[in-house]
Symmetry: C2
Subunit: 428 residues, 2 copies
């Protein structure tokens, strides 16, 4: 390898994935006497919690995606390689990547999750997921394009189908997307489309169970549903989608909803690489790890974040950034202990709480034992997310955008771009 | 058409293209007793003069592209239609578009230009043009990807070819791109790629004639070449490219330059729609217009901007924004005169000057009879471009980005995005 910084003597730790978990692992590894190689197929870290704001024209890609090399410039024991991991030979301690083979002493798999369509082919083909930049831009293009087509559509039934937006799944992504789409239309697009009859517009959130935001306290689940309803989102419970063909959504009940747009936020599963490992997988394709985050048969391999399956009190760890970050710290600590000849420690999750925003002045939040909703939760959400963004410039730009939106009821990035349309998002 | 605002009595003016000329025409038409329909296949106006800064990771799409509906909200006699014009029946006064047929009384074709590869197939297939957002993002992806691949390339010859960037054409776009790429590498990327040997990097500007910036005063042409050279751009004159296959650039002289990247800014021609009109075309496929900007056989049809061919003092009008804007004003004035039964007036171009930037503190500018270069020209360039941007928010964001870059030697948007790679730009 060109200009390889690796020494013959220091152990090599390979980290796969530059998400929340991978970045934290690399930072923690910078204090250990090891050589670290970080692999990702993207050259940026994506701040996924704000991806829905890209999809709803409020933010730009450059504001929530940050180049990995920029973040990690000060890590002197690190080599970043832009490459896709194709295969892991756990026995030989070797990775095959799109740019060559890499040997490791320790491996941390922080590969994250991908959209889970549960084998529903028509939805995988015609629906829109929301996991990466191009997904978000495809949704933005689709929303705006539907409005442009609707303005030129003489048939009222076809027009209403163009203006019906179905979001599937009542988790944080579905709730936040539904609220943001409804506000985009009712506060912003009405100014662009003066001939729009707002009564032609429907925003529908379909949830298969009878509650939103699984894992939140019941009072906040109810509050979220109520707030969404107040923002003219039709929140539907017990609604299971079975088919979507770009013209209509079909539910298990037989109900048919004419709609051109279906956003699928009803499922996440571990990234496909995990399937290739030939290790034990639990629900959602996640790799079963020991309490120390090691693979049971390969103690030099750690799986963290969305891709790892670990139970606490009989419940699987949620697929959330705080879990990935804390797991990264435990994994690196266990590598350090192993280097020092000590036994690894078990992972203990310290739950910082969770929050979801519904729109202007409306959010739900649980921090420790505190629960709150409405303006206070919304303000807390804003502060937490601004702080967690990487880079002062990104914080400044997001903040200006948010203030702009709040004061002027505006979403600046209402572009239908020539790239990232619906057909792009189908590529595996 | 849905909610058509058109009256039976007012004449209908259709404007095709929401570039500099088209927007100015629509604004001028808002004061006439007409119904205006603006057609564009994009929903945004693109500030093309800053497109090269998108290609070199300094700016984001949302900062130089502005939604047309947002710009023209106050124009009450306007209908915007997102549609591609497929055919114009000049005799029947009718347009066929991707969303239906439109009749007009007057037509203003402000369709602009597109990259002209002069029939060089290998370059059209493998080279990168710079006319729209996806072109710019394809260049950004390509530049950054070459660095990532070079860092993992053990063969020094292959590595140097990955790090050789050839820009063809010494007009403003070529000069500005070459300067910006050289500075991106030498001031910014050196911080990201600590193992980079800067001596492996070449930025080459190839110009077929013996001067840059045709149309500029000779002293400024020389100054531009010198400033580029000082920024380590190899400026080569009398160099005509005949072939490029993604691995090497071949010149007419037989010279071979190993390089993975060729940016083609050596030619522009009128947009393809002009070819379908069956009217007289001059050089670059531009439609020959009368001095009044009318098509000689169709006095109700005006062609303006890059797509129009008109001579003044034996020289064709340059393909520049000020020409398009002034032509828009003349065309609308001539529609007004026609409505009032008056004869049309001839177009007279008032040359506001021209400028091109080479990099930090370096530009060349001619304003009226004044010529200057260096820091003063650079400062003038900044002010003129900030003022001409649309929207206070865009001005603010571009300004912050520029200050950031200037102070910290930084280009924030160093993203290799999953969309708009090289193969996308080949599509048309």
């Amino acid at each position: 390898m060109y200009n390889e910084k690796m020494s013959e003597h220091k152990p090599v730790v390979v980290v796969v994935g530059a998400g929340f978990g991978g970045l934290r692992a690399v930072r923690a590894l910078s204090k250990l006497p090891v050589e670290t190689i970080l692999l990702d197929r993207r050259n940026y870290h994506l701040f996924q919690p704000l991806l829905y704001q890209l999809a709803t024209a409020g933010l730009s890609p450059g504001e929530i995606a940050h180049p990995v090399r920029g973040i990690l410039r000060k890590n002197k024991n690190l080599t970043f390689r832009l490459a896709e991991v194709q295969q892991v030979d756990l026995k030989a301690k070797q990775l095959s990547t799109s740019t060559g083979v890499i040997d490791y002493n320790y491996l941390i798999l922080a590969v994250g999750g991908e959209t889970n369509f549960f084998g529903l082919d028509s939805i995988a083909r015609n629906g829109l997921g929301l996991k990466d930049l191009d997904d978000a831009l495809a949704i933005r293009n689709q929303l705006l394009n539907c409005f442009e087509l609707a303005m030129q559509e003489p048939d009222p039934e076809k027009r209403r189908a163009l203006l019906t937006f179905v979001i599937v799944g009542g988790g944080p992504t579905g709730v936040e997307s539904a609220g943001a789409i409804s506000e985009l239309i009712r506060l912003v697009l009405v100014k662009d489309y003066l001939n729009l009859n707002i009564k032609d517009v429907r925003v529908i959130l379909l949830e298969a169970t009878d509650k939103l935001l699984t894992g939140f306290p019941a009072a906040l689940q109810e509050a979220a549903a109520k707030r969404l309803w107040q923002k003219y989102v039709e929140v539907r419970f017990g609604a299971t989608v079975t088919h979507f063909d770009e013209r209509q959504v079909i539910l298990k009940s037989g109900e048919v909803i004419p709609a051109h747009t279906l956003i699928w936020s009803a499922g996440v599963r571990a990234a496909g690489l995990i399937d290739k490992l030939e290790v034990q997988q639990a629900r959602q394709g996640r790799a079963v790890v020991a309490p120390t985050l090691q693979l049971p048969e390969y103690p030099n391999v750690f799986v963290i974040g969305d891709a790892a399956y670990l139970e606490a009190d009989g419940e699987a760890m949620p697929m959330m950034a705080p879990v990935a970050i804390q797991m990264a710290e435990t994994a690196v600590k266990n590598i350090q202990r192993d280097l020092q000849g000590q036994a690894p420690e078990a992972f203990v999750y310290k739950d910082p709480g969770s929050m979801a925003t519904i729109g202007r002045n409306a959010a739900v939040a649980r921090i420790g034992n505190l629960q709150f909703e409405g303006f206070l939760a919304w303000a807390a959400w804003l502060v937490v997310h601004i702080i967690q963004l990487i880079g002062f410039r990104n914080r400044l730009f997001v903040l200006i955008n948010w203030i702009w939106d709040y004061v002027f009821y505006e979403r600046a990035v209402r572009l239908i771009t020539p790239y990232a349309n619906r057909s792009r998002s189908q590529e595996p």
